[in-house]
Amino acid sequence: MNQKDYEQLQTKLSPKTPIGLNVLKAFLVGGIICTVGQAISFFYIMNFDFTERTAGNPTVATMIFISLLLTGFGLYKKLGQFAGAGSAVPVTGFGNAVISAAIEHKTEGIVLGVGGNIFKLAGSVILFGVVSAFFVALVKLILVTIGVTHW
């Protein structure tokens, strides 16, 4: 059997990704997580000295705390299996990536294990966030300087 025939055979016999169902689950769970976030930010606005713009920071921190509990008790991976991007894309997913790596590598010590691996999964998000922000800001600065656009 040549490679092309085999590829056809294995594609035919492998279960298809249920894209519609996955998308629906991602939508629901992602939506619910954001709604929880919205409730938490209202909580901060009403009870503390936060505005709608500034409530984002404590909200994100609280969401990551929730992620810590769910990850530590082994629940986030079940949520992830069900929701896919629905639980990976919200900031709780970023928290899960950091926290699960930290927990996993505690057996190698807190310096080399936790310290060296905490950003094993989430590092690329930080890298690409920072690098793209740098270039976007740079381009905008150049455009403003030569007078194409303004701040």
Binding site: F27, I33, A85, I103, F128, V136
Partner: protein, 121 residues
């Protein structure tokens, strides 16, 4: 107030749908998917489009990882406006520090108190 929950649900859900499509149709790993979303958030802010989305959707726009790219850019742009070239470098983490610092601190605490468990249900 009720409407703001609905809008947060729908916008946040839709951003996750984009992520799911990148993974299922684009066959990307979660790491690639999240990297693309972060870059998208950063670029949208460059065009001044992400802040209006936050005003509209609240947590529906601040909770997805796209907002991380947005706030990095936002910090860089704000400082660039004030201090020029040097601000691009220094302003980046001005706005967005809470996500990363919370993740680091809770990650560390998690490592101290939890052990990984290969359970399935």
């Amino acid at each position: 107030m009720f409407t703001s929950f609905i809008i947060a649900f729908i916008v946040g859900g839709l951003i996750c749908v984009i992520g799911q499509l990148l993974m299922d149709v684009g066959k990307l790993t979660p790491a690639h998917t999240l990297a693309i979303l972060v870059v998208t958030g950063a670029i949208l802010d460059g065009f001044g489009l992400y802040e209006p989305l936050i005003d509209f959707a609240g947590a529906g726009a601040t909770i997805p990882i796209t907002s991380f790219g947005n706030s990095l850019t936002h910090g860089a742009l704000a400082e660039a406006e004030k201090h020029g070239w040097i601000g691009v470098l220094t302003g980046m983490f001005e706005v967005t520090s809470s996500g990363i610092s919370a993740a680091i601190i809770f990650g560390f605490i998690g490592a101290l108190i939890f052990r990984s468990k290969g359970n399935i249900d």
